[in-house]
Structures are given as C-alpha cells and as structure tokens.
C-alpha cells in the first residue's frame, strides 16, 4: 500500500487513468483486508466466499466514491474505507444468515395479554435468592407490559432478548437502523424510569444478580 491519505484523495478525485489506477489499488487492498476483517462471520470455506468478498469490495468502492467529499480527515483514509466496508459486509452477511427465519411476530406485535418471560430457565438453587430474582423479573416484565407499546415490546424483545440483528429487523419492516435504535432507546428509558419510580432502580436489580453470583461462587 503505497499511498497516504492525501494521495488517495488526490487520485480518487482525479479522472481517467489516475482515478482508475487508484480504484484498482483500493480494490486490491479491500480484497486482502476483508477476508481477515470478516473472518469471524464468513469462513473461507463458504461456497460463496469469493463472490461475497468481491461483491462487498465493489459496493464499498462505489460508496466511497459517492461519499468522498464527506471524508473529514479525522482518521487515515483507509480506516474510513474499512468502516464503510465492514458495515456493508456485515449487513449483507446478517441478511443472508437470517433470510430463512420468519419474523411475522414483529409485524403484528406480540399478543397484548402475553407475558413473554415470566420465569428463569435455570434458576439458582438458593430459595431466598431465587425469590428475589423472580420478583425482579416480574417487576421488569410489568414495566414492559405497562409502559411499552406493542411495537416497542416486539422490537425490544427481538433485538435485546432474542439477539436478532437490527439490520435484519430494519429490512423486514422497511425501516432504517437509526429508527430502530431510537425505538429501543425510548423503550429502555421508559423501563428505567418505571423502575426508578417504583423504588427499585436498575442498579439495585443488577447488584442483586452480581452480588449473589459472587457469593455463590466464593
């Protein structure tokens, strides 16, 4: 990689052969960096590996050219490019991984009568601790049922509790990720304020879990 930030910018802003050569070099950099950057999510043995890496590199170069004037120079140019590349890459991989999974419950929202998580799957053996934790869970579930809209409940449950990527939910619902983040942020704030009003702020509930775990382990 011979260029520094200023020469990348100069060559990519140019026209003709100068820009074409810079794009060739940028593609080469991406084709070498992306497999390592995405190795946690995309194995080299994947039958679509080469096509995906090429696809991500091409889309990244297009996006970089479109947004070249927005580069503020707060980092190296290549670091900025990698930021764009990993977002494009992970977004594609998330959608590919979840494409077969139905998320119909998100569209209709959960049943308003439902109490999605009213017990622990593997509660502690200590009866006193078990009761305290069950009370904490019941309190949070009350907050979720009373304070959140069905839409907030569905999105919060899918992202925070079921671990479904926001990219996937955003694509299925025709929203963008910023909007979903805001939905979850508002939901978190509502629950937090409910707990504070009830006299049991989240810090107190968390201490209940952490402190007891440490005692049990020691």
């Amino acid at each position: 990689m011979q260029r520094d930030t200023s020469s990348w910018l100069e060559d990519l802003h140019a026209e003709g052969v100068q820009q074409a050569n810079a794009l060739d070099d940028l593609r080469e950099v991406l084709m070498r960096i992306l497999p390592k950057a995405l190795s946690r999510w995309l194995e080299s043995s994947d039958p679509h590996f080469d096509a995906l890496i090429e696809d991500i590199a091409q889309e990244t170069m297009l996006r970089v050219l479109e947004r070249l004037d927005t580069f503020k120079g707060n980092s190296k140019f290549t670091t900025w490019v990698y930021t764009i590349a990993v977002r494009i890459g992970l977004s594609k991989l998330r959608l590919k991984k979840w494409q077969e999974v139905s998320l119909d419950s998100l569209k209709s929202g959960p049943n308003s009568d439902s109490s999605p998580f009213m017990q622990f799957s593997a509660p502690t053996n200590n009866p006193e601790v078990s009761v305290e934790r069950a009370n904490a869970l019941a309190l949070v579930m009350t907050a979720i049922e009373q304070e959140l809209t069905p839409y907030q409940r569905a999105v919060m449950s899918a992202v925070v509790l079921e671990g479904i990527p926001m990219d996937v939910i955003a694509q299925r619902l025709g929203k963008d990720r910023n909007t979903l983040y805001k939905v979850i942020h508002d939901a978190r704030l509502k629950i937090k304020h409910f707990l504070e009003r009830s006299g049991h702020p989240p810090q107190e509930l968390l201490a209940l879990f952490n402190r007891r775990d440490q005692q049990m382990e020691s």
Partner: protein, 96 residues
C-alpha cells in the same frame, strides 16, 4: 399432527423462560441507558477516529463517551467495530 397442535397449544400457554445471565445483561443495559444517546449513523461517522485512538492506547471512554456508550448498547455497531479492529490488525500485518 395432533401432537404438533398440542405442543403448539402448550407452548402458547406457557411463558417462555429466560436465562438469568441474559436478563442480567438486559438490566445492565438499563443501568447504562442515558437520556441522550447518538444514532448508529453518528457512530459510523466517528468509528474510524475512535478505532485509531483506541489502537494508540488513548482513553476513548472519556475522549468519545457517546460513541463508547453506543457501542455498549448496540450489538450491530459493536460487531462492526470488532470487524474494523480486525481490519486494522490485518493492515498492520500485511503492510507494515
């Protein structure tokens, strides 16, 4: 078929269990929730600078607290940050 219908009915009637660790993680998110938080796009714009500062050993939690807080809240952005750090590791290995 009958068994499947019974299983479906039982599943609908019974509350889903949740693991204590997952619930504790959710409570931890509530503890760290702030009235003002920045969006995923804002974080995307600042992530390159944040990553370079972090790699230079700077105290990013205090230099860029809103980005740091968002990365603790947002699993999608956190994954992208991890991938970016892996990209910078690869760059150092390939081009230094």
């Amino acid at each position: 078929m009958l068994r499947r219908i019974i299983n479906w009915f039982n599943k609908k009637q019974q509350p889903q269990p949740i693991h204590e660790k997952k619930f504790a993680s959710m409570i931890e998110m509530l503890v760290k929730t702030e009235a003002h938080e920045i969006s995923c796009n804002d974080v995307g714009d600042a992530l390159a600078e944040f990553a370079e500062l972090h790699r230079r050993g700077q105290d990013v939690k205090h230099l860029m607290p809103l980005v740091h807080q968002h990365l603790e809240m947002c699993p999608d952005c956190r994954e992208e940050y991890d991938a970016l750090m892996a990209a910078l590791d690869a760059e150092a290995e390939l081009y230094s």
